[in-house]
């Protein structure tokens, strides 16, 4: 199983564990991730404005690389996934955006949103399968009570992301079960962590992270599991004293597969 892999800026810096253990786990599961050559940063947030063209170009270059390689494109960072997938949707469905982007980039073959963009969690669920993963677990996470933290970017808008049920997602819990852990369900698992707003007002992520952490703790979670470096940062920063840990899903997966 071969995919083109788009790591994004943070996975090369502050979220190296998210990247490293994604690669190691993929290898252990027979999935080949080939990094997009000379990839550019996605910009972190999907540019919502219709007339934002320049901010969509880097994602289109990544998408064209996948088209030219004849591969589906795999992301691991929740933010990259959200941005690239939404821009791919624009290229497929919004003629205004598609025309201007193609006029600017002037590729040999215009891009029309044809690439399939998959998050690694979708690859694990839909291509590898949780039963196959369960069979490869050598160090099960038996007895660990873990809360999936989806946040926003994997799920919304569901009309485009089509990742899971946006209000009652299960993919991370199903992965945790396959790894032998006990998933903890709590209300705040698909609510926002405060995102980038901490740069304007630190109180925003402080309040949001406190709400997530206290809810998860009350339900018995010993740690929260995320695919987003910014969620990881906001939660971890405010988790001191709560006793609740924060981990990337790839760390848990690699640990259970015995490749950490």
């Amino acid at each position: 199983m071969e995919f083109l892999y788009y790591p994004g800026c943070t996975l090369k810096n502050k979220a190296k564990d998210l990247d490293l253990y994604a690669r190691k786990s993929a290898e252990a599961l027979g999935v080949t991730l080939t990094e997009v050559p000379e990839w550019q940063c996605c910009g972190g947030v999907y540019p919502l404005g219709r007339d934002e063209i320049a901010t969509k170009l880097s994602s289109v270059r990544t998408l064209m690389a996948a088209r030219d390689a004849g591969c589906d494109l795999v992301t691991v960072c929740a933010a990259c996934h959200n941005v690239v997938k939404q821009i791919n949707h624009d290229m497929a469905c919004d003629e205004y955006v598609r025309t201007r982007v193609n006029n600017y980039l002037a590729p040999d073959v215009p891009y029309d949103g044809s690439v399939n963009v998959l998050h690694l969690l979708e690859v694990l669920r839909d291509r590898v399968g949780f039963d196959a993963i369960r069979e490869k677990v050598v160090s099960p996470l038996t007895g660990r009570k873990l809360g999936a933290y989806y946040g926003c970017l994997l799920l919304r808008p569901s009309s485009v992301l089509a990742f899971d049920d946006p209000e009652n997602p299960t993919v991370i819990e199903d992965l945790l079960k396959a790894l032998g852990a006990e998933p903890v369900y709590y209300a705040e698992r698909n609510e926002c962590c405060g995102g980038y707003a901490g740069i304007a007002d630190p109180e925003v992520p402080e309040k949001r992270a406190a709400a997530v952490l206290s809810n998860a703790k009350a339900r018995g979670a010993e740690a929260l599991v995320t695919a987003c470096p910014l969620c990881y940062y906001n939660l971890k920063k405010h988790a001191a004293g709560t006793g609740v840990g924060v981990v990337y899903f790839t760390e848990l997966l690699a640990g259970a597969l015995g490749v950490k």
Partner: protein
């Protein structure tokens, strides 16, 4: 810019129809940053529809949207309130001298664990 022109520009950028709003308030009820906002998601929709954008352009609420897409997801009429907040914010920060985040201010705003994602996101949202 004259208000009518500004309204048209904002509607074009938003690429969404405020007339579809039935004022149920679900967007603002779900907004994780409601308490901080002077104008709430449903008010952005109705004030843009009325052409009353001047108060929005001058409000800190522009910078308090987290782009979490909850208002978009939970709207029963697919109004996409976040698109109106974004379009008004762009109308503001695209003007000369309205960048909200300057590179020289960054060192004071971060710590050793700040992910690159936070900074690129903040620059995308607070500058043009």
């Amino acid at each position: 810019m004259e208000q009518q022109n500004m309204r048209e520009e904002i509607l074009f950028t938003a690429n969404a129809d405020p007339k579809k709003c039935m004022k149920c308030g679900k967007c603002s009820g779900a907004c994780p940053n409601y308490d901080k906002m002077e104008y709430h998601p449903h008010q952005f929709v109705s004030m843009v529809q009325e052409g009353n954008v001047e108060p929005l352009l001058e409000s800190e609420s522009l910078y308090l949207c987290l782009t979490c897409m909850v208002c978009v997801e939970r709207c029963p009429r697919n109004v996409q309130p976040a698109r109106f907040i974004e379009a008004v914010r762009l109308a503001k920060i695209r003007q000369q001298g309205e960048n909200r985040l300057k590179p020289q201010d960054v060192p004071e705003l971060i710590d050793e664990d700040t992910p690159q994602q936070l900074l690129v996101s903040a620059f995308r949202k607070y500058t043009k």
